[in-house]
């Protein structure tokens, strides 16, 4: 594992913990941006260049901007009220540990000793350039590609339907936002 990979992975994990850990949603969001960028870096290191770029554009760009926009719109403070109990946290972490171990253990065991030669060959052959992926998308994954447009369309129409209200004004509530009901 190269130093760069290690650093990016460390940043990715740390920022992931940050997303979960920060009490202010804004901090979480920024932390997520860092995380997404770190993952993009990892993609790049793995040679999936197209994905790395897409990650930055789609995720860190489009999605996170949307998230931040909503966060600002709603003008939210930190999570209010009770903290999560220690028991529940411990339980959650414990369950997480079980899941982590039971997924990663067999996976790591299976892929621990891959033949180095073929692996390098494979890494080379799966250089994810725009061209290579584009070719795949427009030949083999044509149908899926078209279907993904349907996904986006649903996203658009759905958002419109939910957001648009007849005769209903978006009225900011009095006395601050969030947590008061």
């Amino acid at each position: 594992m190269s130093f760069m990979e290690f650093v990016l992975a460390a940043i990715g994990i740390a920022s992931a913990i940050g997303v979960v850990g920060f009490r202010n949603p804004l901090s979480s969001a920024f932390s997520l941006i860092v995380h997404l960028l770190a993952i993009a870096g990892l993609y790049a290191l793995l040679g999936a260049h197209f994905l790395a770029v897409s990650q930055v554009v789609v995720y860190a760009g489009a999605i996170m901007v949307l998230v931040l926009f909503v966060l600002m719109l709603l003008n939210l403070k930190s999570e209010s009220g009770r903290r999560i109990g220690i028991v529940r946290s411990a339980l959650t972490v414990g369950i997480g540990l079980v899941i982590f171990l039971s997924i990663s253990a067999p996976m790591l065991a299976q892929f621990a000793d891959l033949p180095q030669a073929t692996l390098e060959q494979n890494i080379k052959s799966s250089e994810g350039g725009v061209k290579a992926i584009g070719e795949l998308l427009y030949s083999q994954y044509m149908v899926q590609f078209e279907l993904s447009s349907l996904v986006l369309l649903v996203g658009v129409v759905g958002a419109v339907m939910l957001a648009k209200r007849k005769n209903v004004q978006l009225m900011p509530r009095e006395g601050g936002m969030g947590g008061v009901k």
Binding site: R88, L91, T92, I95, V98, I99, S102, I103, P106, A109
Partner: protein, 623 residues
């Protein structure tokens, strides 16, 4: 031989029962006449059939194939032989007289149609009982008379005590019926038939295993104790006096209560299968007879005295049964029917005349106001006391005599003792009967109002029966035992004897009468002295040996308790409770299951993760 008359013997009273109710509702007066006519007609048929009986000739009639199916043959068939003939004659004969008497006795009761309907129904049932060709058919009558007895005891049902007395009679009879059913079950499986003509054949009896034979015998006797009021099931009979007096005369003295003896006689083969059974019968009979006689001494209700006397006399009959002298027992049945019916009807006339007063302490001196009744009662008293030549003497004497000839291995060493006991009972009988006569008819009137003699329609039948009580024994004495030798085993008795024998035989009765006369008329002071000395005995006697209480404590209370316990604990708590508990538990678990759905996404995710972790943990081969 099939004979339609036989069917008519039963059907006429049955139709009479229906008609007297239906038509009687329109015209109450007609009910009694119809009912009496029906029984009388039946009597005529019986007589004509009886006349036709010659030698071994019998009649039978099949009413329905009844329980016959597959290879099982249990038709509803009635059968007329000499034994049935005797019973039928008594039932219809005495029955007619009592019906006639009832017309007068019940003249002012508004429920007359119902009464006569029941009475006729009773006669029909009783006839089925004595005519039944197989045990199930006998059982029809057996239960039928029980039902009628129940209905008639509770005739005045608005009084809950009377209604309860009826129920008591029925239930106690039912206990006895268990024995009947068990006996039928055993006999059916051992002999393959329940036909009485088949069952008494030696080769059929030989098929019954010995222990089964014993059980069957005891079971039959149990049935008889229920119906014929023997220990431990006799307490219903005194209570049964709640019914109208003609009912007591007909059912609880002359006919129904002797059904047990009839059954024993019919099934003598089974009874004698195990020698222990007659021995048990004998001891039970002796005890019953003695206890009833002792109780009778202290009773003040005239009907109660007669009731206990009936129990005591029934015990006497069973004594004869116990020693195998069935025809002697039957003889006593007949004479007893005469004099006891006469006694009851006289007592009924007294009650009627004294404005429904039954307590002898409020009577007295009725000889003047009711001479005919007094005469009949006196004659019957002498008969029951066993004074020659009255009817009771012959039968009683025959019983005492047959006791001496007992050849039961279980009784060998007690022969004299039993004879002595029986004699003592006979003395007792004479004593308390004389006492009742004295209290009722002699001395001065102690009650209210003016007693009056009963109307002719009542006194006539009483007088007829009185005459029968006087001469019945003398007339029947000669032919009776030989007549019954066909259906019943012969008895080694040549009763009556000469004049000397008669005098000697009357001694116990005379002693009793004399004692009563001495104590109640001559020296009443001595009587009080004796009562003081024997106060325990008096308590026991007037307390009826506390049999009701003992029975209540030992049988009824435990069952009541058991019933409550079973109902509360086993039923409500266990059976129903378990079902409810299962329902409750599932609801509670369901509630818990719902509680997982807290409405909060985090919890849901946590559950999802936990479940996923569980699946992964459990189902992955590597841990």
């Amino acid at each position: 031989m099939e004979d339609t008359r036989l069917a008519l013997v039963v059907l006429v009273p049955l139709v009479g029962a229906i008609l007297s109710y239906v038509l009687g509702r329109a015209a109450p007066r007609i009910a009694g006449i119809l009912a009496t006519a029906a029984v009388a007609t039946s009597f005529c048929f019986v007589v004509s059939l009886w006349q036709a009986l010659e030698g071994g000739q019998t009649f039978s009639f099949t009413l329905s194939s009844w329980l016959s199916f597959s290879n099982i043959k249990l038709p509803l068939e009635i059968y007329f032989d000499k034994l049935s003939a005797v019973m039928c004659l008594v039932v219809t004969g005495v029955g007619s007289l009592i019906h006639l008497y009832s017309i007068g006795y019940m003249a002012h009761d508004e429920s007359r149609p119902r009464f006569f309907s029941y009475l006729n129904l009773f006669i029909a049932s009783m006839l089925i009982l004595v005519l039944g060709k197989s045990l199930p058919v006998i059982f029809i009558g057996w239960e039928g008379v029980g039902l009628c007895s129940y209905l008639l005891i509770g005739f005045w049902y608005t009084n809950p005590d009377f209604a309860s007395a009826g129920r008591k009679a029925f239930v106690m009879n039912r206990i006895g019926d268990l024995g009947f059913i068990v006996a039928m079950a055993i006999l059916y499986h051992s002999c393959g038939s329940l036909d009485i003509t088949v069952l008494n054949r030696p080769e059929v009896l030989a098929r019954i295993p010995s222990e089964m034979g014993f059980i069957a015998g005891i079971a039959l006797f149990l049935a008889a104790t229920g119906k014929s009021a023997q220990l431990p099931l006799f307490t219903w009979l005194p209570d049964a006096m709640a019914g109208p007096t003609p009912v007591s005369a007909l059912i609880h003295a002359a006919t129904m209560v002797t059904a047990g003896i009839y059954l024993m006689a019919r099934m003598f083969g089974v009874i004698e299968l195990a020698p222990l059974v007659p021995a048990i019968i004998l001891w039970t009979a002796l005890a019953t007879s003695a206890i009833a006689a002792i109780i009778a001494i202290s009773q003040n209700d005239i009907k109660k005295v007669l009731a206990y006397s009936t129990v005591s006399q029934l015990g006497f009959m069973f004594l004869a049964v116990g020693v195998g002298a069935y025809s002697v027992a039957l003889f006593h049945v007949v004479t007893h029917a005469f004099f006891k019916a006469c006694l009851f009807m006289s007592a009924g006339s007294v009650i009627h005349g004294c404005h429904h007063e039954q307590d002898m302490r409020r009577m007295g001196g009725l000889a003047k106001s009711m001479p005919l009744t007094c005469l009949s009662y006196g004659a019957a008293t002498l008969a029951i006391a066993g004074i020659a030549p009255f009817a009771g003497y012959f039968s009683k004497h025959a019983i005492l005599e047959s006791l001496a000839h007992a050849h039961n291995p279980y009784l060998h060493s007690y022969g004299e003792l039993i004879g002595l006991g029986a004699t003592a009972i006979a003395i007792c009988t004479a004593f308390y009967m004389t006492r009742s006569f004295i209290l009722t008819f002699l001395g001065s009137y102690r009650g209210e109002g003016h007693p009056h003699e009963a109307p002719m329609v009542m006194t006539a039948p009483v007088l007829v029966l009185a005459v029968l009580s006087v001469v019945g024994g003398l007339v029947l004495n000669h032919g009776f035992f030989t007549y019954l030798q066909g259906p019943l085993p012969p008895v080694a008795t040549h009763s009556g004897g000469g004049i000397l024998g008669s005098v000697l035989g009357s001694v116990p009765g005379l002693i009793g009468i004399a004692a009563a006369y001495a104590l109640f008329i001559v020296t009443p002071a001595v009587k009080d002295q004796i009562r003081k000395v024997l106060w325990v005995g008096e308590k026991v006697s007037s307390g009826k040996f506390f049999l009701d209480e003992i029975l209540g404590l030992l049988v009824i209370a435990p069952f009541r308790g058991l019933s409550v316990v079973v109902s509360r604990v086993l039923d409500q708590s266990v059976s129903i409770g378990t079902g409810n508990a299962i329902g409750g538990i599932s609801r509670a678990v369901g509630e818990l299951t719902c509680r997982v759905t807290t409405g909060q996404v985090s919890t849901y995710v946590l559950w999802m993760f936990a479940s996923a972790a569980f699946l992964l943990y459990c189902f992955l081969p590597v841990r």
